[in-house]
Amino acid sequence: MKKIYDILEFLGKIDRRWIFLFVFVFTTLPLALKFKVRVTPTEEVKIAFNYIENLKEGDRVLISIDYDPASMPELQPMLYAILRHLFRKNLKVIMMGHWPLGLPLGKTALEEVAKEYNKKYGEDYVFLGFRPGGSAVMVAMGSEIRNVFAADQYGTPLDSLPVMRDVHNYDDIALLIGLEAGSTGDFWVQFANARFGQEIILGCTAVIAPNLYPYYQAGQIRGIIGGLRGAADYENLVGKLGTGSIGMWVQSAIHILIIIFIIFGNVGYFVLRRRRKRSV
């Protein structure tokens, strides 16, 4: 009996290097095998997808890149899936960002997907780039986008670009999609939605997602695409599986692993506590 208790107590004292090794193996193995998993999309993502599905051809959609390479694994597959959906529906894409270090990621994805669908720069999509100011930029865009972005990233005046000719403020934008790794999404809701009535869908890292439910329940945002699962859901809905779906294997394996370790830790903790009580 003592031996069993010793083993159970040991479960609570596993060296963290073993945990690191298990995490490494459980992460790299599924990634190396590249299994793509079909998932049943969650309700919030389905609602977001259907909202875009119901937009009219030619409607303008503003995408805000509010993340950087640290959140790339979660948000980049989401961006690719959303762009594919938008271009397939012949919607016009306007891209900007509040996180300057993430802009190259947005631009790369935009150009790549636009090429897939034979879309032309200036006619079907535009890249506005970054302006400092955060919430001030959002409020100023409510009166006139040209007050903030007089020209696109390459210095071309907005009026020279057909896609921007009749776009002046939020009234001319059918939907705003914010891809968020921080609190910029809250500001979009507070300024663009609450003040100017802009329809918004937020895609975000899994850490941010729980914070957005009050906005979703209040109807201030039209959907939440949360974390890698959200990206995989969207890829499934669009019908082209990518790195989000590959990541589902990794996430399943790691979540189960962490729960097993938590159970081990608790078993060890209770055995140790029981032994201490007895010795007292």
Binding site: S143, N147, S252, F261
Partner: protein
């Protein structure tokens, strides 16, 4: 006067922005092509913010230069930081001049971004997975009722949000179809949402109180 002038500017700017929010009419808000006071203030704010970036870089370099001069034991890191800043700047300007856009595919800046910056930042963030696993193992203990509830909720959400959880639980109870994804969704939609809303309202009230203190000149710590 050194303190009074900033306080007056803060008061006027704050009051005008608040008025423009509730009365978005000229001269506070814009009228057709005539920008209102609010638009002017927002433009000034954006311009000032651009300069604060320069100020930030200047302060950062001055701080690390001092460390290098004093021969601090962390001086090698300071050297790395200053060298990196100038290399990034030089590569960015070169790419802008030569390619018209530093983000152009194939430009030296994008090479620098793709093969140095992205892997470095991704590595830093990826380390979190290892530390979270280790921290969860050591700290997530059912010590009391609150900790146990948190533990159970976290376990349901973690498993219910991944495909592996789809088929673990599949039962009918009192006419309800219960699965792990449904339990996870309920936790996020109901208790989580209620708590988040409470936090949001609290933060908003705190924000209003703090803004009023700053606008009315009661809170002056930003001047020191």
């Amino acid at each position: 006067m050194k303190r009074e002038v900033p306080l007056i500017i803060t008061f006027l700017s704050g009051i005008i922005i608040i008025i423009a929010f509730f009365i978005p009419l000229y001269p506070f808000g814009s009228y057709k092509n005539f920008p209102g006071l609010q638009d002017r203030f927002l433009q000034w704010y954006n311009i000032l913010l651009g300069f604060t970036l320069i100020l930030g870089i200047d302060t950062l370099i001055a701080y690390h230069w001092k460390k290098i001069k004093e021969g601090s034991k962390d001086a090698p890191y300071s050297i790395a930081l200053i060298v990196s800043i100038f290399i990034t700047l030089a590569v960015g300007i070169f790419s802008w001049v030569k390619y018209g856009d530093p983000f152009k595919a194939g430009s030296p800046f994008m090479f620098y971004y793709d093969y140095i910056f992205v892997p470095l930042q991704s590595t830093m963030f990826a380390l979190l997975a290892f530390f979270i696993a280790s921290a969860a193992y050591r700290a997530f203990r059912a010590r009391n009722l609150e900790a146990t509830l948190l533990l159970i909720a976290a376990a349901f959400v973690m498993i219910g949000r991944v495909p592996a959880g789809d088929n673990i639980l599949n039962i009918y109870l009192f006419g309800y179809h219960i699965t792990l994804p449904k339990i996870a969704a309920w936790i996020l939609d109901t208790p989580n949402m209620a708590v988040q809303r409470g936090i949001l309202i609290g933060v908003a009230l705190g924000g209003i109180a703090m803004s009023l203190r700053i606008i009315l000149g009661i809170e002056k710590t930003y001047l020191s």
